[in-house]
């Protein structure tokens, strides 16, 4: 049964891929961003990645966040439609390997399209699971230059989009799209260079209320994993503070059939060894 599901998912993805590839000339800016969100935040039915984050201050001092991230997509109604893929529910499970004072700490997120996320944190020193309130638009993810939103994605309807131009970046044809938030956001303007082939964001610039560039994202290396183009090296730099975060996806796998039960209090307290290695 699972294989049939996987097959259906692959077929559905194939259809999406085809649709995107064949009709790109007629895509609206919003559809381009939607495709980008699907490829960047929703790739595969599920994903497991060992992620190394280097948090580097302007003096060059490094801090390390070594973590395993599990992610699972949930398509409402059993069928993965294109719209749902970019707006669907997701569950995240994060296990920290390093630094040593947070080793064994786990973090879980249920992400919903229409309401606030649910987030839980497990603190191993006192064996406590608690819900935490976070402001994902503004809060930094584990002290890095990435906000929670940069990690798990932003809702499509929260911005308006405009195609500024089409240009080449590092030899790759890109749509250059401007996103303006409708409500409150960390940025007042975001400009994204979205690869016409992979639909991954190759570069993004974030502007503040003074219309100054303050944060810049770059996808430094893209690798094909299980047929899914994946940005395995990424960097976010705060141009105002000089602080930057370099992210390496050391191992990434898709469509592993991660069980729903993994995303539970049980495994927060005792991380599943077979999944977090």
């Amino acid at each position: 049964m699972r294989y049939i599901k996987v097959l259906i998912m692959i077929l559905a993805l194939g259809i999406i891929w085809t649709k995107v590839s064949f009709s790109s000339d007629t895509l609206t800016p919003e559809e381009i961003v939607r495709a980008c969100y699907v490829r960047f935040y929703y790739a595969g039915n599920d994903m497991k990645a060992r992620i190394l984050m280097k948090l580097i201050d302007k003096g060059g001092q490094e801090r390390i966040r070594d973590l395993t991230m599990l992610r699972k997509n949930y398509a409402e109604g059993g069928e993965l439609s294109f719209a749902e893929a970019s707006e669907g529910r997701q569950k995240y499970f994060i296990y920290f390997h390093q630094p040593s004072d947070v080793k064994d700490t786990t973090f879980m997120v249920y992400k919903y399209p229409d309401r606030d996320d649910d987030r839980w944190l497990f603190i191993p020193a006192i064996n406590l699971v608690k819900r935490i309130a976070t402001n994902d638009k503004y809060s930094s993810f584990v002290g890095s230059d990435f906000s929670y939103e940069d990690i798990s994605g932003r809702k499509l309807k929260e911005d308006t989009y405009r195609l500024l131009k089409e240009e080449e970046l590092n030899g790759k044809g890109c749509y250059v799209i401007e996103s303006l938030p409708k409500g409150s956001a960390e940025y007042t303007k975001r400009i994204s260079w979205i690869d016409k082939v992979s639909y991954l964001p190759l570069k993004e610039e974030f502007y503040d209320t003074q219309n100054d560039l303050y944060k810049q994202f770059e996808a430094l290396e893209i690798k094909d994993i299980n047929g899914i183009p994946t940005a395995i090296k990424r960097a976010m730099k705060n141009v105002k503070t000089g602080h930057r975060t370099e992210v390496t996806f050391q191992s990434t796998k898709y469509n592993l059939g991660i069980g729903d039960d993994i995303f539970s209090e049980r495994y927060l307290r005792r991380p599943p060894a077979e999944w977090i290695k």
Binding site: I64, R119, V142, A273
Partner: protein, 428 residues
């Protein structure tokens, strides 16, 4: 609790049992490397009220210690068992002594639908922030009030725990054969209110480790409608001592003991109103004094709390809680209360506020926690600043401020204990 006072027989028994499970489980195919880590820390706290504590062991020094922690865990792959041991070695300047403490030491036996944990383990239940209703497990209040890291507020229990997982509900069932009391502010380090200060010799009688004194704790939990729901039950003992006297008006002998207690409760936690809301209830059935006529033993109580936590922009988080304890048989309590005792209100309340602000890419943390009781008119305020100099090096500076209108309320009695503390920790 930093004394090796635990019943060694239980530990030996647990370890033997652990070994038994290990032998019975599947063979080890490709063992994982055991993981080792720990920290070295120095932690000092000094009274800042300028009041000399009679019989103080080290004048203003309430806490002065160097401590090393070693933690090892080993969960061989392809087996169903794992081990975890956390131990501390420390030198205490107040007592001028060395000590070792087993913080935790347990074995896990992991199955598909259940698992078992045997040995010394820390268990934390409930949804309160520093307010405990259904968390009936031992606390170290002395550690908390003298500025030790928060994890030391919790003490381990020597216990067996069964976790059950079903589609409908999950459950934790804990059997504690050996009683561990709370560690309360002690003579020689803290000022505290004593209704009978002239009676020095006091026996403290702990429940003996017998089958009849076994403690049981049960938590059943599941998610429903986006909320985390738990129901709790406990049968055991109060962890703060009660008083026995030949008479309470002018006693000549006093002893302390731990009365029987049963607790039934429930909790809820849910994302709502742009933050997280928490609610918890517990009925404390004071089994040795159900009619409320014994002034040495706590009356039965209903305890409840509601809390709300919200995160704002720029790593600022604010949490508010309201907590109440409603006493049963208040008329009996008032009638039998000895004149030397502080008279509690029928409804004892706390309002707490927590503010946390992170700065400099979350390397600097400014936090504030306050308790305020409107009925006892006292405060406990703990501001703290900490900095992660590197990933491995943490420095913290904070104060514990106690203040109150009266000298015999929960925090008012501690007003001479206000202190400042420092911590430096190197983790490896």
């Amino acid at each position: 609790m930093d004394k090796v006072t635990y019943n060694n027989r239980i530990i030996c028994f647990s370890l033997l049992l652990s070994f038994g499970f290990w032998v019975l489980s599947s063979p080890v195919f490709c063992a994982e490397e055991p993981s080792i880590r720990g920290f070295l820390q120095t932690n000092y706290s000094a009274r800042i009220t300028g009041v000399k504590l009679p019989g103080a062991k080290r004048q203003e020094l309430m806490l002065g210690e160097e401590r090393g922690r070693l933690e090892g865990s080993y969960y061989p792959s392809n087996t169903k068992v794992g081990f975890n041991v956390k131990g501390d070695v420390f030198h205490d300047w107040v007592e001028d002594s060395w000590g070792v403490a087993l913080r935790e030491g347990y074995m896990d036996y992991l199955m598909d639908k259940f698992d078992v944990r045997i040995g010394r383990q820390i268990v934390t239940w409930g949804v309160g922030d520093l307010l405990f209703i259904n968390d009936v497990f031992p606390k170290d209040w002395e550690a908390f009030y003298s500025g030790r890291p928060l994890e030391y507020l919790k003490q381990g229990v020597d216990a067996g725990k069964l976790n059950l997982y079903t589609d409908l509900v999950s459950a934790e069932f804990i059997v504690i054969p050996h009683f561990t009391p709370d560690n309360l502010p002690s003579v020689g380090r803290f000022f505290f209110f004593d209704p009978y200060p002239n009676i020095m010799n006091r026996e403290v009688e702990k429940p003996k480790t017998t089958f009849g004194n076994t403690e049981y704790a049960l938590r059943i939990y599941r998610s429903l409608g986006g909320a985390d729901l738990s129901a709790y039950a406990y049968k055991g003992f109060y962890r703060t001592p009660a008083m026995r006297a030949d008479n309470f008006i002018s006693p000549t002998t006093i002893s302390h003991f731990y009365p029987e207690l049963a607790v039934y409760g429930a909790s809820l936690q849910k994302s709502a109103l742009g933050g997280v809301i928490s609610a918890e209830y517990g009925y404390y059935d004071s089994m040795d004094d159900r009619n409320g006529k014994n002034p040495g033993i706590e009356n039965s109580q209903s305890k409840f709390l509601i809390g709300y936590q919200k995160a704002f922009q720029n790593d600022l988080t604010v949490g508010l809680q309201y907590y109440g304890e409603l006493m049963s048989q208040y008329k009996e309590y008032k009638a039998k209360l000895p004149p030397a005792f502080f008279r509690k209100k029928e409804l004892h309340q706390y309002i707490t506020l927590r503010v946390t602000k992170l700065l400099k890419y979350q390397t600097v943390k400014l936090s504030l926690f306050t308790f305020y009781s409107p009925d006892e008119e006292d405060f406990f305020i703990t501001p703290e600043a900490s900095i992660n100099v590197t990933d491995n090096m943490l420095l913290a500076l904070g104060t514990n401020i106690f203040t109150g209108v009266k000298d015999n309320t929960s925090f008012g009695q501690q007003h001479k204990n206000s202190n400042i503390y420092v911590l430096a920790r190197y983790s490896f």
